[in-house]
């Protein structure tokens, strides 16, 4: 046993209501909305025109920029509109609206990629449209070309956010894909060790992974205590490998590549059948949803269609969230589409949005004890309000990963993580050079 100390975190209600539910394949919706920005980086340019007939897997948006991944048609049908779209996070891009013909024909040109080396592999990963499916939507081909040499692949199956079960379901159903995906990455990146981190609230997945990987002694299944945010990249790397990704470093700088388990399963499927990222599995849950379900849906499916398929609302939805309750973003419109990195869609009722009124900080120190990175959120909030850039820098607000533990534990219900986000923005805009 190592003596390293675990990072702080919080105990949250798991609410994994859909963990035992079967994954249902939702019937093709009438319309899908496919924004050109579904990844971190540069938005794609639309490559189709209104009136075009498209088939599943056909590229409808791409760019020459490195930091991007192409967008593919997720249904077969007709491009009916190219509209302005503003993401729930406030980022504007174009979106291609396709009316489905319900024939669900695949692009006949789709074929398994020919991979004869690392460059081919990276090209194939880019062509697949893959971005990190669990979190920030980081383009996978960028991640798989690390800037320093790596020896360890850390696979994120923590799924530490409440409610979300999509990774759990994918991993259970596609374990053979997982192994071939791992094999591909090991082959091209000189990986010698693979660690799969799973929170211990998924004992069935831990057991199945251990059973399945028992003949490969380079793969370690790491059972993580169920403590939010075990799935955050720096936390996961530290807990599974003991390596510290210090300020200014990327995982590659400590020899690690981190990928979501769902992303690896997809990559393996793509290498076998050449079908790009056109659908995903999403948990639909929350107090307002009549029948919470786990659904496999074409990308771009509108939330309203998801909720309709889940029996509609049993109480009035007051807050609809893209993602989990800890880091998810509220959407302003039920016509919001499912994006590549959108693992859950939650609808909260009135009871779930009460009790958020801010009052004065009582200096209890709970935020300091909860912060996995040992930051001082209340002190940061004071520094931000005072406009004290030097204090913000000294207290390392730039290291905040925005997990929300501080806001969660605050008895005065202060929006501490929001304050940190604002402080980071303030430093970017006014901070200048250090």
């Amino acid at each position: 046993m190592s003596l390293k100390r675990s990072l702080s975190g919080i105990k949250v209600r798991h609410c994994k209501n859909t963990a035992a539910a079967p994954v249902e394949i939702m019937p093709t919706p009438d319309v899908v909305v496919l924004p050109m920005q579904q990844h971190m980086g540069t938005p794609c340019d639309v490559t189709v025109a209104v009136g075009d007939q498209v088939k599943i897997g056909q590229v409808i948006g791409d760019t020459t920029s490195y930091m991007a991944a192409p967008i593919h048609a997720s249904v077969s049908g007709t491009v009916v509109r190219i509209e302005d779209y503003v993401s729930p996070a406030g980022v504007a891009s174009k979106a291609v609206v396709i009316e489905a013909d319900k024939k669900q024909e695949r692009d006949p040109n789709l074929a398994p990629p020919v991979v004869n080396g690392y460059d081919d592999f990276l090209k194939a990963v880019r062509a697949s449209g893959l971005v990190g499916l669990g979190g920030a939507g980081f383009p996978a081909h960028v991640k798989l070309k690390p800037r320093s040499s790596v020896d360890t692949l850390v696979i994120n199956a923590a799924e530490c956010e409440p409610y979300i079960t999509s990774d759990h379901h994918i991993a259970m159903a596609e374990m053979d894909c997982l192994l071939s995906g791992i094999a591909a990455i090991k082959k091209y990146l000189d990986i010698t060790r693979v660690v799969i981190g799973v929170e211990d609230n998924k004992p069935d997945l831990i057991k199945a992974l251990k059973e399945f990987c028992r003949y490969d002694d380079t793969i370690l299944i790491h059972s993580l205590r169920s403590k939010y945010p075990q799935g955050a990249e720096k936390v996961l790397v530290y807990e599974t490998t003991g390596r510290i990704i210090a300020e200014g470093m990327l995982p590659a700088d400590v020899g690690v590549v981190v990928m979501n388990i769902n992303s690896i399963c997809f990559l393996a499927r793509y290498l076998q059948n050449g079908v790009p990222l056109v659908k995903r599995t999403v948990t639909v849950d929350g107090g307002a949803v009549a029948n919470p379900k786990v659904l496999t849906v074409p990308l771009g499916t509108r939330y309203q269609d998801l909720f309709d398929y889940c029996g509609g609302f049993k109480s009035e939805p007051r807050k609809v969230i893209m993602g989990g309750p800890m880091m998810g973003i509220t959407v302003y419109d039920l016509n919001s589409p499912v994006l590549k990195n959108n693992n859950a869609v939650l609808a909260f009722d009135q009871a779930q949005i009460d009790g958020f009124e801010e009052s004065a900080c009582i200096r209890c120190g709970r935020c300091v004890r909860a912060c996995p990175f040992n930051l001082m959120p209340a002190a940061l909030e004071k520094a931000r309000i005072a406009g004290d850039l030097a204090a913000l820098r000294e207290l390392k607000v730039n290291l905040c990963m925005e997990c929300g533990c501080c806001s969660f534990v605050c008895p005065a219900k202060r929006n501490l993580v929001t304050s940190n986000k604002m402080a980071k923005k303030l430093l970017r805009e006014k901070g200048g050079k250090k």
């Binding site: 990072l7 973003i329 009582i362 969660f408 008895p411």
Partner: protein
Amino acid sequence: MELKNLLVIAPSPHFRDSVTTTSVMRDVIIALMPALVASVVIFGARSLVLEVACVAACVLFEGLFNLATGRKQTIGDLSAVVTGLLLAFNLPVDLPIYMAVIGCFVSIVIAKQLFGGIGQNFANPAILGRVVLVVSFSQAMTSWLIPQRTEAGLELVSGATPLAVLTTGGTPSQSYGQLFLGIGKGGCIGEVCGLALVLGLVYLLVRRIITPTIPLAFVGTVLLFTLMLGQDPIAHILSGGLLLGAIFMATDYSTSPVTEKGKLIFGIGCGVLTVVIRVFGSYPEGVSFAILLMNILTPHIDRLTKAKAFGGVYDEK
């Protein structure tokens, strides 16, 4: 379903802990209940009169101040109730009510609200209230009644507290057991029963309202320091307001450091100052002054004990 309201747009997280400022204060009040019961058992119903009067006065002053200044009403957070109870616990049983009310005014209006209300005050309100009363009404605040059980019932006879005996070189007449339980011992109404205070501490720790750092550092320092000075450390710990101060007053969020390292320094400082005042000063009791002095140092301790971030790269200085 027809939507009656627009969707709420709010920053994450969309889950919050059930702990609120009010629930924290409620827990502190619950933790103070054993000592309240003990005060009534030991000193009689007058204790309860004092406690009720202080709580009522503190809540009233807080409410009126908020009304007068047009601030948001905060009496619902129960912090004024805690201040009232703590101030009452720091008073002799026969203190005239009007004096207690003056103490409440100092605590709530001067120590707390004039500095910006909850979380903003630099001095512990109850302690400042007590200290002002001690220097303003020193006769009334330092004459003690010792409860004695007789055939006729409870009788209060004036006499010296064990701490006064102890700090003038004598040995208290009570056994350790009597000192711990608060039997036949003079003192402030809330401080005499160590058992009740320790029960409160256990509750606060179990409910994670406080961490044990400050009480342990405070009491531990008193133990070591008095031992080094050749005094009876157990009698020092069980006499006077040490346990009340270390468990309930020094742990006040607003006026103690935020980090555990800071709390350790704070607790040690409180312990050292308490013993220095008790042994070398002219006042028999030093707990209030010690905590008050450390309150003043708290911003500096906070500055010196800033947490180091995980993976943070710091300039060598």
